[in-house]
Symmetry: C2
Subunit: 155 residues, 2 copies
DNA sequence: CCCACCGCCGAATTTTATTCGGCGACAAGG
DNA sequence: CCTTGTCGCCGAATAAAATTCGGCGGTGGG
């Protein structure tokens, strides 16, 4: 029912690589009939294994070539403050990823901006204006490598 | 030629939201003909604005519910060592994202594992075994929010 | 004012997705 | 050992979508 066999794993791998390849191609690669393949893909979607299909974009082409990581500590550390601050971060168009982490730092925020000026402006006019922010360090990202195809772990 | 008008922006936005909606739907939303829409999408792909189409998966369903961030410093800091270590990270199936950052920390690595034991094993048996690693801190991720739809910045 | 160019359109064609009836493997029960 | 029910898979038929392409109209240059 909800166990992943080899074919399911291969489907997930292939669709992570290219979500727009035709069902025929995919079925052919796996050596199964297109109708069977379609059924499998739908089941994976329905089961929640596949959560969506997204186009990936070049940040440079969207005029946002500069990326940075913001390490932020907030106080007080209670649910309400955290949720409110998280909602604030989501509302910022510069934000790509928000990591809520254990340890000394509370938030790690991945942002993309047109240039360093805009990064500075973002910090000064948006982040530091929040009263709950007690500390924020920013690090420019030289390179970002995303592993888009999440494979199985050797068990 | 390579300027993004409003229609291009809308296409990019929509395909980030759902890369598998039909060209007809997309064209209808934008109020243009399907053939025109197809042409636009192909141009965006050819120009490199859209870099690919990926299925997103539920990490829990793939038996990797625990995520962490590894903050790693390596020495010596020269191109060769950095590239070699980066290649090593890419080869690890647990790795989701690699950020090469400025500042005190050199690498920030986003990983997903089945449980905390596997995180410990990963650190002990893979990361710490590398001679270039002089320091590594790990933080468990309580929540990860990804902004998959990158919008334009208000200019 | 005329002409050339470019993007857009929509009908025609090709390709693809989707449905569905049936087949064969497997398992449980007689 | 045979019967019977279930389940996943298959492939042909149908429906929908992608893709092509000839032509139209708007725009800018001459």
């Amino acid at each position: 029912m909800d166990v992943m066999d080899d074919i399911d794993s291969a489907i997930v791998r292939e669709l992570q690589r290219d979500a727009r390849q035709t069902n025929r191609e995919l079925a052919h690669k796996l050596g199964i009939a297109p109708s069977t393949c379609l059924e499998r893909v739908r089941a994976l979607r329905a089961r929640g294994v596949i959560t969506g299909y997204r186009a990936t974009v070049d940040l440079g082409a969207l005029n946002r070539p500069v990326q940075a990581l913001l390490t932020i500590r907030i106080r007080p550390m209670n649910r309400e403050v955290i949720e409110r601050f998280k909602a604030f971060l989501v509302s910022l168009p510069e934000v790509l990823n928000i990591y809520v982490v254990a340890g000394g730092d509370d938030f790690l925020v991945h942002v993309a901006v047109p240039d360093l000026d805009r990064l500075h402006t973002l910090l000064m006019d948006s982040v530091f204006k929040r009263r709950e922010v007690v500390d924020c360090r920013s690090s420019v990202i030289y390179q970002h490598v995303a592993n888009d195809v999440i494979g199985p772990l050797t068990v």
